[in-house]
């Protein structure tokens, strides 16, 4: 019995000495196997327990377990100490330095972004996109839209002329006519594009962008016009936005309306931007005038429809809080990078 205990104590002494001297995690692991493994010294020694008298076994067993735990503890402590030592010696890279990239992200012009947002909403509502020429016949820009020559309504838009019968389109409404000449109802289109008017100040540039919409089918009503446009404004400015429709005049729609939204700056309380009214003019719209249908050969007794036109810059200015429309066309990089 004594000899077993003495052997165990000798093993313990050797093990603790070796653990202390170990330099790597790997060495510690091999020491664990050497002493505590299935074929390790402590294990094999304790296996001889059967050879000693049974009354002595508990005492030797107890001693053996004590030594096992001691070595186990010493291994764990040494491993932990070694890990800390290694960790303290490792050299980190500076993770706070900027990462490597050739260029920062590029940007789409804010007008493009807002135009896409507008078009996407109408595309989801089942509208198609239609396009037309920027340099347009007077006929499509005015006459077919029920604006004859020498009509005071021509004063509503200062027009750039190319010749007596060719203009830069003053609105994308001209596309309405081109589409209706080609197709039969039902018509659901939006027409995005640049438009031109000879006017320039803080709130006017000679070129700007519009999205025109047209829906023609049997039994289309003013009530539905209100429905679509309310849905649209809620999609652009959020569900809480207030809207109102008030009578106005456009030669190609009747009844005609201006749509206002509650001021996005002051929330409707009244401020400088909304001139104290709490409302902002956002788009013009109305039921397609029968005279327009007659021009394209639709029977106004069978079909009714509505049209609307909205200014993209206007919406972008309200959305982003831009107070000078000319910024869109100066293309200052500092401006472009903000969107």
């Amino acid at each position: 019995m004594e000899s077993i205990i003495a052997r165990l104590e000798a093993i313990e002494e050797g093990a603790l000495k070796e653990i202390k001297a170990a330099q790597t995690i790997e060495q510690l692991e091999s020491l664990r196997i050497k002493y505590l493994g299935r074929k390790g010294e402590v294990t094999t020694t304790l296996r001889q327990l059967g050879k000693i008298p049974s009354e002595q076994r508990p005492l030797v067993g107890k001693k053996g377990n004590e030594i096992k735990e001691k070595i186990q503890l010493a291994l764990e402590e040494a491993t932990e100490a070694l890990k800390q030592k290694i960790a303290a010696e490792v050299k980190h890279i500076d993770v706070t330095l900027p990462g490597r990239r050739a260029y920062s992200y590029g940007t789409l012009h804010p007008i493009t972004q807002v135009m896409r947002e507008i078009c996407d909403i109408f595309l989801r509502l089942g509208f198609d996109i239609a396009e037309g020429p920027d340099v347009e016949l007077d006929y499509y820009n005015f006459e077919a839209l029920n604006i004859p020559p020498h009509h005071p309504a021509r004063d509503m838009q200062d027009t750039f002329y190319i010749s007596s019968d060719v203009v830069l389109r003053t609105h994308t409404s001209s596309i309405q006519i081109r589409v209706m000449e080609k197709e039969k109802p039902p018509i659901r289109i939006i027409a995005p594009g640049a438009v031109y008017r000879c006017d320039a100040d803080v709130s006017h540039t000679p070129m700007f962008h519009q999205v025109e919409g047209l829906l023609v089918e049997k039994n289309v009503s003013f009530s539905q016009l209100k429905g679509i446009l309310t849905t649209f404004m809620e999609a652009v400015f959020g569900e809480g936005i207030g809207v109102r429709f008030r009578p106005s005049f456009f030669p190609f729609t009747e009844p005609s309306a201006e749509m206002d939204i509650s001021c996005v700056i002051c929330g409707g309380k009244g401020c400088r931007v909304c001139k104290g009214t709490g409302w902002l003019e956002i788009l013009g719209c109305g039921m397609v005038d029968p005279a327009v249908f007659e021009k394209v050969g639709y029977d106004p007794e069978i079909y009714t429809g509505f049209a609307f036109g909205l200014g993209v810059e206007r919406i972008a200015m309200l959305k982003y809080g831009i107070d000078d429309i000319r910024l869109f066309f100066e293309n200052h990089l500092g401006f472009l990078k903000q969107f």
Binding site: F222, K226, P247, P255, E330
Partner: protein
């Protein structure tokens, strides 16, 4: 249209506040743009009496006036020559902001305190007289504010009248709308004329030669008028309405025009030769000097009022100087007419004159109102100008115009508006607008009043119903249409995609004006026959530097580059997708197509600690084109040297070629062009023809199975002359159609020792692979040797040792 509320109240009761009235009108389609009190500053100007005038101790020219407002006495320093003790004068108190922008303050003038200022008529914005302090007549009550004393303490609504509502260009017109909205009756003014003397047709006659231009022409004669300033109440109303008072006769014509919407003209009767008024079109080249002193050369489309000697007025636009009312005028011949709106508009537009008169005639006046307006003006000339109205009236109205009755169908109203509205409600609304309504079965027979030219079709009446019912009360609903989905137009889709690709590559999108400076083409050094010079020109450009439609995106991009350089932003990569225009001889409309352009200046990469900042070069811009074309699926593109694009440096610029088609070009901007646009750094640009690109984009991508066996690579370094084009080798090898050769790419370019001067070394990597097995080294060596041999023989070059 400026509407003073007190004037409006003469016709209709207004019980609500100005803001509520404004809201009411706006929601009925008469948008109130502004509510203002134009003369609120006169609330700080008091009617005061000069009690005493004392000399100023420090200045000979100045006086000290002791003035009283009844309650309080002030000592005011004043330098005007016309002040006298006992007279009434306007005293502006501190805080009063005069129309000139001067704010009256308690000031020290040459050492004497002056707690206010005595004002001239001009200083108060009430007239032109600046010869001295405005001496007020005895009717003014001392102590009252001038705003009260002059009836100027009124609120004015600025109402925007749409072009279809000429009938609302008057106080009466707006009052009619208020009456309709609030379901009131209009109070029309009542007055009586006392006619005396010989009747007008004894001395005057009217001949209308062109009835299609002048539907009605009324003339009345008023004798013995005394030209003098109008009474203050009238001047005040004109001032509130924004019209400058002149003299009683002119003021009366203006007043009645503002009140009834009917422009009137007063001739000096003595200046009309033979008492004969002739309404006719001008002879081409005929001349007339109008009231503003300008001489006009006339066209045969201009309508004139003439006497047998010649023109005396430009009909409906402006009177002639030769028949003007002067202080000596005794007899007035008053014109109240209804001219063809198109005739008036054509002349006004052509001569670029817009008057209160032409504005109203263009928007049509009330043919029945011409008579009432003439009567009203006669009454004022009798009561305010001591005139005597001659009996009778000349009224050339050969074809009286009567409004036409039409039908309105109740179901149509309901369908179009999308709501259930009762028949009785519709009738009530129409009647409130003075529309006559008769029920005929399920229809309404409606007749508009004479002043509503805009009501001629059923839809016009439906709009009136909607307008007065209130758009806000019509419930919103969703349209019901069959579902259908059509593919987006592919070109539109690709434009979107291209913008996304380029912004993903770190480029910023710009939008520039579609009109450019015609001088740009000279600045770009383009020859006179260059297709870019086939431009579409604007007839009326806003400025000379935006006078033609762009045929290329380059000038716009250079402008953006220059603008940013001047903002000290030199590191720039911007692109634009935009339309260009090419004028085709004999075609009505130009050809429109999309181009993609971009400009780059600055460095290879954004500033960062990772790279040394190195100036950008040709390969930076080429890399973008490569990446873009690759993303679009357009391969095997060639770059060819160019030497005929004058704005690009021929040593580092190229055409981009695919097959036999030129897709565009790229390169460094010539130094002359750089100077012309004042660029501060060298820059590179590209321009691609998107229509050609769209045609080349594969409609459908085809999947190729992934290779199962490994590739084998072999490199070869070739020594070639300096000017040798690297791509030539690739193109040549491709034509050989070698089996198992998967790709060839250039991996190194080297110049310098030990390569001899004037030559360079190009290293290519060739990749070989078989689809069904791993190639052996021996096989690859054989293939590679074969290819290298062909290259050396074809180009007569050597392998680098």
């Amino acid at each position: 249209m400026r509407v003073p509320l007190n004037w409006l109240r003469e016709f209709v009761d207004v019980t609500c506040s100005a803001a509520e009235l404004a809201e009411m009108l706006t929601m009925a389609g008469l948008e109130v743009e502004e509510i203002e009190e134009p003369f609120s500053y006169l609330k700080r100007v008091i009617v005061a009496r000069i009690n005493a005038i004392k000399p100023h101790p420090n200045a000979d020219r100045l006086k000290i006036c002791v003035v009283t407002t009844g309650e309080q006495t002030y000592e005011i320093v004043c330098g005007a020559p016309n002040i006298q003790e006992g007279t009434l004068v306007p005293l502006a108190l501190p805080g009063c902001e005069l129309p000139s922008g001067i704010v009256v303050k308690e000031a020290k003038i040459r050492g004497i305190k002056s707690p206010g200022m005595l004002c001239s008529q001009k200083e108060l914005g009430l007239g032109e007289d600046h010869s001295g302090i405005w001496l007020l007549t005895k009717e003014f009550n001392i102590g009252k504010t001038l705003a009260e004393a002059l009836n100027l303490d009124d609120t004015v609504l600025e109402v925007a009248i749409t072009p279809n509502r000429g009938d609302c260009l008057s106080i009466l017109g707006v009052a009619r709308e208020v009456a309709a909205i609030t379901r009131q009756k209009i109070h029309y003014p009542t007055f009586t004329l006392k006619e005396a003397g010989e009747p007008v047709f004894k001395h005057f006659r009217v001949t209308v030669k062109h009835r299609e231009h002048c539907y009605r022409y009324i003339v009345r004669l008023i004798r013995g008028v005394r030209i003098q300033p109008s009474p203050w109440w009238l001047q005040a109303k004109l001032l509130l309405a924004g019209v400058r008072p002149i003299n009683n006769i002119v003021d009366i014509t203006n007043y009645v025009m503002l009140e009834y919407g009917q422009p009137l003209h007063a001739f000096d009767a003595a200046k009309i030769a033979e008492g004969h008024i002739i309404v006719r079109l001008a002879h081409a080249g005929e001349k007339l000097i109008t009231l503003d002193g300008k001489e006009h050369s006339l066209h045969d489309t201009d309508l004139l009022i003439c006497d047998p000697r010649g023109p005396i007025a430009l009909a409906g636009v402006m009177g002639g100087l030769n028949s003007e009312i002067t202080p000596e005028t005794k007899d007035v011949l008053l014109e109240s007419a209804y001219f063809n709106p198109i005739t008036i508009r054509r002349t006004a537009k052509r001569l670029n004159i817009s008057t209160e008169s032409s504005y109203r005639f263009e928007r049509e006046v009330d043919p029945e109102g011409t008579f009432q307006a003439a009567q009203r003006a006669c009454y004022f000339m009798q009561s305010l100008a001591e005139g005597t109205v001659a009996p009778g009236m000349i009224d050339e109205y050969p074809e009286p115009q009567h409004p036409v009755a039409i039908y309105v169908r109740i179901p149509r109203v309901q369908q179009l508006l999308g709501m259930e509205i009762e028949k009785d409600q519709i009738i009530d609304i129409l009647q409130s607008l003075q529309i006559e309504v008769k029920e005929v079965e399920d229809k309404l027979e409606v007749t508009p009043p004479s002043f509503r030219h805009d009501l001629t079709r059923e839809i016009d009446f439906i709009e009136e119903v909607a307008r007065l019912y209130g758009y806000e009360k019509i419930a919103a609903s969703a349209p019901l249409l069959p579902l259908q989905a059509r593919a987006l137009p592919s070109r539109q889709n690709w434009r979107t995609r291209i913008k996304d690709i380029l912004s993903g590559l770190g480029w910023h999108e710009v939008i520039t004006y579609a009109f450019i400076d015609p001088k740009s083409f000279d600045k770009l050094g383009l020859p006179s026959e260059h297709p870019f010079r086939q431009v579409t020109k604007l007839l009326n450009p806003l400025t000379a530097d935006r006078a033609v439609m762009r045929s290329t995106l380059v000038p716009g991009l250079l402008e953006v580059c220059s603008y940013n350089h001047h903002q000290r932003i030199y590191h720039l990569r911007v692109f634009e997708v935009g339309k260009v225009f090419r004028q085709i001889p004999d075609a009505v409309l130009p050809e429109e197509s999309y181009k993609l352009g971009g400009v780059l200046s600055g460095y290879h990469f954004d500033f960062s600690w990772h790279f040394r900042p190195e100036q950008a070069d040709f390969y930076d811009i080429k890399g973008v084109i490569d990446a873009l074309l690759q993303a679009l699926g357009i391969n095997e593109v060639n770059y060819e040297f160019q030497n005929d694009i004058p704005y690009l440096n021929p040593t580092n610029s190229a055409y981009i070629i695919k097959g036999d088609k030129c897709l565009g070009y790229l390169g460094e901007i010539q130094s002359e062009v750089k100077e012309a646009w004042d660029l501060k750094r060298s820059a590179f640009l590209f321009e691609l023809d998107l229509e050609s690109i769209f045609d080349l984009i594969p409609k459908q991508r085809q999947f190729k199975p992934l290779p199962k066996f490994p590739p084998t690579e072999r490199d070869v370094a070739l020594v070639v002359p300096e000017a040798f084009a690297a791509q030539a080798v690739e193109n040549f090898v491709t034509t050989l159609a070698i089996p198992y050769l998967e790709s060839i790419e250039i991996i190194d370019v080297y110049q310098g020792a030990p390569i001899e001067a004037g030559k360079k070394s190009l290293t290519y990597r060739l990749t070989y692979r078989a689809p069904d097995r791993t190639l052996t080294d021996a096989e690859v060596d054989k293939l590679h040797g074969h290819i290298v041999g062909k290259i050396l023989k074809n180009f007569k070059i050597e392998v680098r040792q």
